[in-house]
């Protein structure tokens, strides 16, 4: 790819004029999107940052609002809840999605593999409130089809199961059920990109399927696994729907269980404080932003240059 300046210099005058005309139309074509990007990407971020550093009179308060948030006993509690949840969720998503993708890639052929991927992806249709409620039924010993299993663990009624120590695992199962399929498809796609020659050569050398997966395939899609882990982590920090729905239906979950719920309570709960809520949002935003910037600029997974 030659630099823009060089390309321009080599071009005849006529084309250069065409290029300038193309410039103006380009702005027209991106106008709608840029307005939306400013209004619902940049502006809310700027507004949140503005609120986070001021009080309700718009007076600058430095890091005062951040101190309010971090000093709140509910903040540490929700962060600990989050840590437990993310740990389970991340291990599950990385280990199981890679395992299932490898199995599908190496042991299931053609049409069958499309079918399996579709089966794993199907619960994604219930993302959000629906999946949360479905899993509440699955975990309710009264109606669950796996009730005997629940009883075996001593969970004889819903209240006994929905206990603080079980919540991270429950939410991780809910999130995994909905989200795993998409990642299995992506991991499968990455495995498919590993050249057949490499696989064939290894097979001829007598490498067992297990060694093939561990020493050849998984290292070759390492980049994608890191990508998945980072996105799953960033997504995990945002958990809101599951604890909110489970809590509002059963009254058994703290209303500030996750940081996003705490931000919601800061904004709308008793003694609402939009500025503190914004400060917490900015903290969460910063986490997402840092990971996004690292991924986009360092991973090399994204094309930012159109092919000429």
């Amino acid at each position: 790819m030659t630099s823009g300046v060089e390309t321009l210099r080599q071009m005849p005058l006529r084309t250069k004029r065409v290029r300038e005309r193309s410039n103006r139309v380009s702005y027209l074509l991106i106008a709608g999107y840029v307005v939306l990007l400013l209004a619902f990407g940049v502006l809310p971020t700027a507004y949140a940052v503005g609120l986070a550093f001021t009080n309700d009179q718009w007076q600058f308060t430095g890091f005062g609002q951040f101190a309010v948030v971090i000093g709140d006993f509910r903040f540490v509690r929700s962060m600990l809840n989050l840590a437990g949840y993310i740990l389970i969720w991340l291990v599950a998503i990385v280990v199981l999605c890679v395992t299932l993708a490898v199995i599908l890639r190496n042991h299931v052929r053609g049409r069958m593999s499309v079918f399996w991927r579709f089966v794993f992806y199907l619960p994604g249709a219930l993302a959000g409130v629906a999946s949360t409620v479905v899993w509440m039924f699955m975990l309710s010993p009264k109606v669950s089809p796996v009730a005997p299993l629940l009883h075996a663990f001593g969970w004889t009624d819903f209240g006994k199961l929905v206990q603080p120590q079980n919540l991270p695992g429950i939410f991780a199962i809910m999130a995994f059920w909905v989200g795993a399929g998409g990642w299995i498809i992506i991991m499968y796609g990455a495995l498919n990109n590993v050249s057949d020659d490499v696989i064939e050569a290894a097979r001829l050398d007598g490498v067992s399927p297990w060694q093939m997966a561990i020493h050849i395939q998984i290292p070759m899609i390492r980049q994608w696994i890191v990508y998945m882990a980072i996105l799953a982590f960033a997504g995990g920090t945002q958990i809101f729907v599951e604890p909110q729905i489970l809590g509002s239906a059963s009254g058994l979950v703290d209303v500030t269980w996750s940081p996003n719920q705490l931000a919601y309570q800061f904004a709308f709960g008793a003694m609402s404080n939009s500025n503190a809520s914004a400060a917490l949002s900015v903290l969460l935003l910063a986490v997402g932003l840092v990971f996004a910037v690292i991924l986009v600029t360092r991973s090399g997974l994204f094309t930012t240059e159109a092919e000429d």
């Binding site: 006529r14 065409v18 193309s22 103006r24 380009s26 027209l28 074509l29 991106i30 709608g32 999107y33 840029v34 939306l36 990007l37 209004a39 619902f40 990407g41 809310p44 971020t45 507004y47 949140a48 499309v114 399996w116 089966v119 992806y121 199907l122 249709a125 993302a127 409130v129 629906a130 409620v133 479905v134 509440m136 039924f137 309710s140 009264k142 089809p145 059920w177 795993a180 998409g182 498809i185 499968y188 990455a190 001829l204 996105l231 960033a234 945002q238 509002s248 239906a249 904004a267 914004a278 949002s281 935003l285 997402g288 932003l289 910037v293 991924l295 986009v296 997974l301 994204f302 159109a306």
Partner: protein, 306 residues
């Protein structure tokens, strides 16, 4: 020659390796079936639940089929809830999801094209920002967005959902990738020399080629809009303006299924809840079935947003 020798060696493996191979195969299928059960069983249960009464859900075999009369009964209870609120919820969901979708296509397809095939100042920056916003989890911005929309006095207005739904950087990125790999810049250059205007090039050359990517962007955008809960939960406080997802959570908190404090005389119990969930899922499920193939391809191309 080398090959056939190796093949012979492979087929004449000692018995112990062959057993290991069999055990390995067994383990593989055991894992696959276990996960299929995990992913599918809850959906099968959900499909059957509205055919039964709350009592038989508790006492009968979980995968038995009840009767269609039971489904009709549950439906009667559902439409009895807040004078047929469920119709309004579905209507609202359709308005918000399709409104957002229309605006998404109008804005993101031209933008993706311009980013891929034209050169303008700030192009690189716009692409970077798009990628970053696309990867950042959308939930983070919901509360700031609410504060902003509330400052703009848009709370309760359909635009408070349609406009944020129309902001869809993932769609711009997908279109960008599609155009930059499927159209040559030299083709466009030739059209320019022949005197076609830039807009003509976009409408006559690029757009007719964009059908597959439009389908894909429309799918992801619609599903996201339809399933969104957090933003509508905040910006649509009145039941009459809420979409189905928020409606579901209302049904849930009014039901006796999980909360002994729920109001029994509203008639909302497990069969009604599961029926409402099924109905809310049908539009997305239908899309899944139709878009299956391009979906699997698109997920990998875009690489994000499950």
């Amino acid at each position: 020659m080398q090959n056939s020798l190796d093949m012979a060696a492979v087929t004449r493996r000692p018995a112990s390796t062959r057993y290991a191979h069999l055990i390995g195969r067994g383990a593989v299928w055991a894992i696959l079936i276990a996960f299929a059960v995990f992913f599918v069983l809850p959906m099968v249960w959900l499909l059957l639940a509205p055919t039964k009464s709350a009592q038989s859900l508790e006492h009968d075999f979980p995968f038995a089929f009840g009767s269609l009369a039971r489904v009709a009964e549950a439906w009667q209870h559902l439409i009895g809830f807040q004078d047929g609120a469920i119709y309004r919820w579905f209507g609202n969901s359709a308005i918000y999801a399709f409104g957002g979708l229309a605006l998404t296509l109008i804005c993101s397809v031209p933008a993706g094209y311009a980013l891929a095939l034209t050169r303008f100042r700030g192009r690189k920056v716009l692409l970077m920002v798009t990628l970053i916003v696309m990867i950042m989890p959308a939930t983070t911005l919901v509360i700031p967005m609410f504060l902003e929309l509330s400052a703009m006095k848009l709370i309760g207005n359909p635009l408070a959902l349609i406009l944020p739904f129309a902001f869809f950087p993932f769609g711009v990125y997908l279109t960008f990738i599609y155009f930059s790999t499927s159209l040559q810049r030299s083709t466009l250059e030739a059209a320019r020399i022949d005197g076609a205007s830039e807009l003509q090039i976009f409408f006559k050359i690029a757009l007719p080629l964009a059908r597959p990517i439009i389908v894909l962007v429309a799918f992801f955008n619609f599903v996201g809009n339809w399933q969104n809960y957090f933003l509508p939960f905040l910006v649509m406080p009145a039941s009459g303006t809420q979409p189905i997802q928020v409606g579901l959570s209302q049904l849930l908190s009014s039901s006796t299924a999980f909360n002994p404090g729920g109001t029994a005389n509203l008639g909302i119990d497990a069969p009604e809840l599961t029926l409402a969930i099924l109905l809310a899922t049908v539009p997305v499920l239908v899309l899944f079935l139709f878009a299956q193939r391009s979906l699997v391809a698109g997920m990998f191309a875009g690489g994000t947003k499950g």
